[in-house]
């Protein structure tokens, strides 16, 4: 059992999909060689997504926490999060493969929003699957997707969150693989998806590394990002994995406690979900558990197989960050820096604050993967519930 990421990864899907995944793999190889498409991707990122995103020195938080805190500002991307990088890349890949329709899943709605946007621009129809609970708690993103012309299907099955949205998207793909591209939003799923998503998200790390060296004259001491499926984190980590002196930390959605959690790498065990062998949250019979995180984008019982590998080889350390810690980091960032982060990267901020307690004067780079306007309802509900 040897895959791209040690024992992790693989292509654990129904036979019907295997040829499509091979087709995708071949197309992706060709795509990477195509100068024309590479150039298109570059221009798209610059003029449509608004890249490069800035590196920001959060001086007030730095003072308060006693370490130098830097944000990679993915929250400034068009559609409000890093998800647009992958959506642009894959819509071009879909065009390259002459696919006529897009299928996507979404948790927080950020990937669905980004996908709907690029589909509107390219004039390709799309169907977005979203768990019913997620659709309720991220209503504004649903409205945005609809305005952009997407067909949003609310999934009223299982846990009614991201996991079940992915199940439905895969079922759609099994039926419509010939004309449809499944635009998967995270570095999860069967081969070659984790590699494709990482390729398109690695722009975050490439930019951040160059910017950091230019600004500080050295590499950061720590790089921290939140990990749900793990696409923003794999994007920023990828540029630093080879720098042994850089410590890399992942912040998982801890939920409220061990039993109501989304912290897959912290509390899960190895298994197969959505086409890959990776860590998953499961019960003692191998049934996938219902998860919880206050951040819809982290509310997922699996994780990208490369993260499982990075944990196993001890290159990256993963920590659960609980709902209340994330909420207080969310507030602190808004109050101190005038930036409302999404609840997902608020987990990374909380982890940065936590490790700051035991050290001083270190340089910490945090991937601020998205903006928090989408989360105000969740935030106020949480505050009122307390």
């Amino acid at each position: 059992m040897r895959h791209e990421y040690g024992i992790f990864g693989g292509i654990y899907v129904p036979e019907t999909l295997v040829p499509s995944l091979f087709e995708l793999e071949r197309a992706f190889k060709e795509f990477k060689k195509s100068k024309r498409y590479k150039e298109k991707f570059k221009i798209y990122l610059k003029e449509y997504a608004g890249r490069p995103t800035p590196l920001y020195h959060a001086k007030n938080l730095s003072k308060k926490w006693g370490n130098e805190i830097y944000f990679k500002r993915e929250d400034l991307c068009h559609t409000g999060a890093h998800k647009i990088n992958n959506a642009i890349g894959q819509i071009l890949l879909a065009r390259f493969m002459h696919k006529k329709r897009i299928i996507a899943e979404t948790g927080a709605g950020q990937h669905g929003f980004a996908t709907s946007a690029v589909c509107a621009k390219e004039g390709i129809g799309c169907t977005i699957y979203m768990g019913k609970i997620d659709a309720e708690r991220q209503r504004e993103n649903v409205l945005k997707m609809k305005l952009l012309g997407a067909d949003v299907v609310e999934v009223d099955k299982g846990s009614k969150t991201l996991k079940d949205a992915i199940n439905e998207a895969i079922r759609d793909w099994i039926t419509n693989f010939e004309n449809s591209h499944y635009l998967l939003g995270s570095c999860v799923g069967p081969k070659p998806y984790p590699e494709i998503v990482k390729y398109f998200q690695s722009i975050i790390g490439k930019e951040a590394r160059t910017q950091f060296i230019k600004r500080c004259g050295s590499l950061p001491d720590y790089v921290i990002a939140c990990v749900g499926g793990g696409s923003n984190s794999i994007g920023i980590f990828s540029a630093f994995v080879k720098d042994k002196e850089v410590k890399i930390l992942g912040a998982e959605g801890g939920g409220t406690d061990r039993d109501k959690t989304s912290a897959t790498l912290s509390f899960g065990k190895k298994g197969v979900l959505h086409g890959a062998l990776t860590y998953i949250l499961q019960d003692e019979k191998g049934q996938v558990r219902e998860t919880h995180s206050i951040a819809p984008g982290l509310d997922y019982p699996g994780v990208g197989p490369e993260h499982s590998f990075l944990k196993q080889v001890k290159r990256v350390k993963y920590f659960p960050v609980f709902d209340d810690e994330a909420i207080s980091a969310f507030e602190e960032c808004a109050e101190e820096e005038g930036i409302i982060p999404a609840l997902e990267p608020s987990h990374a901020l909380a982890l940065a604050r936590k490790i700051s307690k035991n050290m001083n004067g270190k340089r910490i780079l945090v991937c601020l993967s998205g903006r928090g306007e989408k989360d105000l309802n969740i935030y106020w509900r949480y505050k009122n519930g307390k």
Partner: protein
């Protein structure tokens, strides 16, 4: 090619509840040449809505792998069983432990819809060791080159997925089903069983010359859920498969005595 046409009914373990599952398992064992039992899973992504309900219902009954083994023991009129499971519950149970127990309990083969050729290789020696058959799937999107590899590892039968899509009853098969079957039929002397979407006996009749058997799941689950008659439905299929009901029943009975003695699977 042997002329016998096999009938393989499928039911998810613990569906619609523990007690009635046993009742239906007995009934299906009366009729089937094999009986396929599904291990319920939280994320059955190859299944359409009828079997999703079956999985969900069974999980509420807290059914697990050991329940299946103990259910099999309670069936007196034994037919060889096929177990269908997504990979994760088996991995969690322990792959080898599962195969050993299954082999001892009279299971002939295992179908794992999310374990394609590429990933199956690692596990095949374990099947051999436990004297159990891995039942590979082929689908309308499978190429000839790939089908040959699938046929090579098949023993008991090849599970041919009739449609591009998930499980779920359909009135008729698309044109490509027939085309693909015709293409594959000449490539192997392994048995080919047709599954996914089998409902209408008349549509089976039209392609009967290209297959060795049918696997029926969703329509059985739907009938159980709606409280509709199963006996008549099954007899209609047997009628087509065995060419005449009376004759058919006799053939089934014979088949069953044969496998009591030992090994049809």
């Amino acid at each position: 090619m042997e002329n016998k046409k096999y009938f393989v009914p499928y039911i998810t373990a613990g569906f619609p509840d523990r007690k009635r599952f046993l009742k239906y398992l007995k009934l299906l064992s009366e009729y089937g040449d094999y009986v396929e039992i599904g291990i319920p899973f939280s994320d059955p992504l190859a299944d359409g809505s009828d079997l999703q309900i079956a999985h969900e219902t069974a999980l509420k009954e807290k059914v697990d792998i050991d329940f299946i083994f103990s259910s099999i023991e309670r069936i007196r009129n034994k037919k060889p069983f096929i177990i269908m499971s997504y990979l994760n519950p088996i991995l969690n149970y322990g792959f080898e432990k599962f195969l050993k127990k299954a082999g001892n309990k009279g299971v002939a083969g295992v179908v794992i819809p999310d374990l394609p050729l590429e990933e199956a290789g690692y596990y095949l020696p374990l099947f051999k060791k436990c004297n159990l058959d891995f039942v590979p799937l082929a689908s309308p999107s499978t190429s000839v080159e790939r089908f040959l590899k699938i046929a090579e590892i098949a023993n008991l039968f090849i599970y041919f997925v009739s449609v591009k899509g998930t499980t779920g009853a359909r009135e008729d098969f698309p044109e490509y089903t027939r085309r693909k079957l015709k293409e594959f039929r000449n490539l192997t002397d392994r048995k080919i069983f047709l599954g996914f979407g089998v409902k209408n006996p008349q549509s089976v009749k039209k392609i009967l010359n290209l297959i060795d058997g049918v696997i029926i799941g969703s329509e059985i689950a739907r009938r159980i859920l709606k409280g509709r008659d199963l006996n008549k439905f099954i007899k209609k299929h047997l009628n087509v498969l065995k060419g005449g009901l009376k004759n058919g029943r006799r053939m089934v009975d014979k088949g069953c005595k044969r496998c009591d003695k030992s090994s049809e699977g």
